[in-house]
């Protein structure tokens, strides 16, 4: 499937991290969802990066 172009059309945002940004977008009426994020792998960044790489070949399903 071809990627949707960045410019033109709607911008619908998934926010990961600072809630401040999602709050700002929501106040402006921009469709946004905030992920309840936790540091993965018990807060070990190296292990988290390894885990993410092993997940690369598994596309994230939207449904």
């Amino acid at each position: 499937m071809a990627a949707r172009p960045l410019l033109g059309g709607d911008t619908r945002v998934v926010s990961v991290g600072l809630e401040l940004f999602a709050d700002t977008l929501a106040a402006l009426g921009v469709p946004v969802v905030q992920i309840e994020w936790r540091p993965p792998a018990g807060g070990d960044p190296r292990l988290a990066a390894l885990l993410a790489r092993t997940e690369d070949d598994r596309p994230v399903a939207a449904s």
């Binding site: 990627a3 172009p5 410019l7 990961v16 940004f21 309840e36 936790r38 018990g42 994230v60």
Partner: protein, 502 residues
């Protein structure tokens, strides 16, 4: 000083929430110091250095919340903890009532928001690349707001984005305005016909604000990342950003911004700009000769002129020469003979480097870097990665900036304190109010030592910003700060003050 630590296991909170909790706790009477941090090894080291760590805190892990309080009594410490708990509970309740339970994963988020187009990622730098990779693989464009993202990760992510026809905006450039939507730090500017592609966060903000002030608007503003034009990254995102703006029917004029490109990247960029097919203005920090505009303000005004079919003639100041002379005299008034240097305390990286370039044009002994080194003229950028580990950006939290303003203002060799104020979405609700106490303290300390202290600033913002350009400017001016219409003009005035005393 009695000291207590409280730990809540597996309780992650983002850095802005932690900052707010710290403030709530410090407002409790009889509390002398408070800190709320996640228990990462770096944060525990910070707490230890600050003398705020006990054995209980020391045992915390990276996903545990550590509350540290130095208070006069146990009751005050408990009251501070209660204040933090109340604030957290209120936050949870607001979230729960405002929306369904939040998704805990990207897959869950995509179910909650079908047709999502973009991920805005602002987790700590060590985790940011992994989150960005997941979003790209899921077919989302990414704005990577996080600082402290390793260069290798940036290159790999941008290659992955290119392969998939996606944008990876950022890092080290936490701003964009896409289809009128402000992402990260961005200002309230009208839609219009000027498109911006920027390898510079505050550069993008300054230029879009100047364009708005001149009565034009922004079609799209794409922040490609502060390192994108280095030879290591090679303009991996500048290229598709320029192609997208060239193809965008709403964009009539293109404005390109960034640090001076690497040697190889400069060649390919020049060739790309030559075949854009649209009028273009370019500003490169540290090497204005490589572009077509000498400052950010000139880049904006040149783009406006191109859109209107007129010509922009750069000028050093907006005000007439005699008005500038009066400002210089006012600033230099009551400075002592030993006060020789300009000291900048900034939160915008591009603005800091622009100021350094302009100071160097008329002063010797200007420190080249922005991390506070050098004994002569210097400009520190508190948004630099070294200052933002485990802390909110200084545009959100003025704590570190207040310390630097008092330190630089207290140096008997400082003649002019040079400041930037950045407004907009995502920034602190009252940036002037955040730093004015420190400016007043620095002034008082100088007066007590028989000296004056000039304070010169510029405000990057618009009338539509939540903080209001006029209100912020008025608050600074009421405190005796000389406010110029652009960062370039503020830096030039600061240099003139120092030169006038020779």
């Amino acid at each position: 000083m009695p000291l207590w630590n409280f730990v809540r296991k597996s309780f992650y909170q983002d850095s802005v929430t932690l900052m707010r909790l710290t403030r709530d706790m410090e407002a409790v009477s009889d509390v002398t110091r408070a800190a709320v941090m996640m228990g990462t090894p770096q944060n525990l080291a910070l707490l230890k250095d600050a003398g705020l760590l006990t054995a209980e805190g020391e045992a915390a892990g990276p996903t545990d919340l550590v509350v540290a309080v130095a208070a006069g009594t146990r009751a005050a410490a408990e009251a501070a903890r209660a204040a933090a708990e109340t604030a957290l509970t209120a936050r949870r309740a607001a979230t729960a009532s405002g929306a369904a339970a939040r998704p805990r994963s990207l897959a869950g988020a995509l179910r909650a928001l079908p047709g999502a187009t973009l991920a805005l990622i602002s987790v700590p730098g060590a985790y940011a690349a992994a989150e960005a990779r997941k979003a790209l693989v899921a077919g989302l464009h990414v704005m990577l707001f996080s600082d402290n993202v390793p260069l290798d990760d940036e290159v790999a992510l941008k290659r992955l984005a290119r392969e998939r026809g996606l944008f990876l905006m950022g890092p080290d450039c936490g701003t964009a305005i896409v289809n009128g939507v402000p992402l990260g730090f961005a200002n309230a500017v009208p839609r219009g016909r000027i498109g911006v592609a920027a390898a510079s966060g505050t550069g993008l903000q300054a230029v879009t604000c100047h364009i708005a002030a001149a009565g034009e608007g922004i079609s799209q503003a794409i922040g490609v990342g502060g390192r994108d034009l280095s030879d290591e990254v090679g303009g991996l995102m500048m290229e598709p950003a320029l192609a997208a703006l060239a193809a965008d029917p709403a964009t009539a004029v293109i404005c390109v911004l960034g640090k001076a490109p690497g040697r190889t990247t400069a060649k390919s960029l020049r060739a790309r700009l030559d075949r854009l097919g649209k009028p273009c203005v370019a500003y490169f920090l540290g090497d204005p000769a490589a572009g077509t505009a000498p400052t950010l303000e000139d880049a904006a005004l040149a783009a406006v002129a191109l859109a209107r079919g007129t010509t922009h003639v750069p000028a050093e100041f907006t005000q007439p020469p005699e008005a500038v002379t009066r400002l210089v005299e006012r600033a230099a008034n009551r400075l002592g003979p030993g006060q020789r240097f300009v000291r900048g305390v900034y939160c915008g990286g591009t603005l800091a480097y622009e100021a350094i370039g302009l100071l160097k044009a008329c002063l010797a002994d200007v420190a080249p870097g922005v991390t506070g080194g050098g004994s002569g003229h210097r400009v520190v950028d508190l948004g630099e990665d070294v200052f933002t580990v485990g802390r909110p950006h200084p545009m959100i939290d003025g704590t570190v900036r207040r310390e630097w303003i008092e330190r630089e203002g207290g140096d008997p060799e400082t003649a002019v304190l040079l400041l930037d104020l950045v407004l907009g979405y995502g920034a602190h609700g009252d940036p002037a109010g955040e730093i004015l106490p420190a400016i007043r303290n620095a002034r008082r300390a100088a007066a007590a030592a028989g000296r004056g202290l000039a304070v010169v600033a510029s405000v990057c913002g618009t009338a539509g910003d939540p903080q209001g350009l006029a209100a912020q400017t008025a608050a600074l001016e009421a405190a005796g700060v000389i406010v110029l219409p652009s960062n370039a003009q503020a830096a030039r005035l600061a240099a003139r003050v120092v030169v006038s005393r020779r």
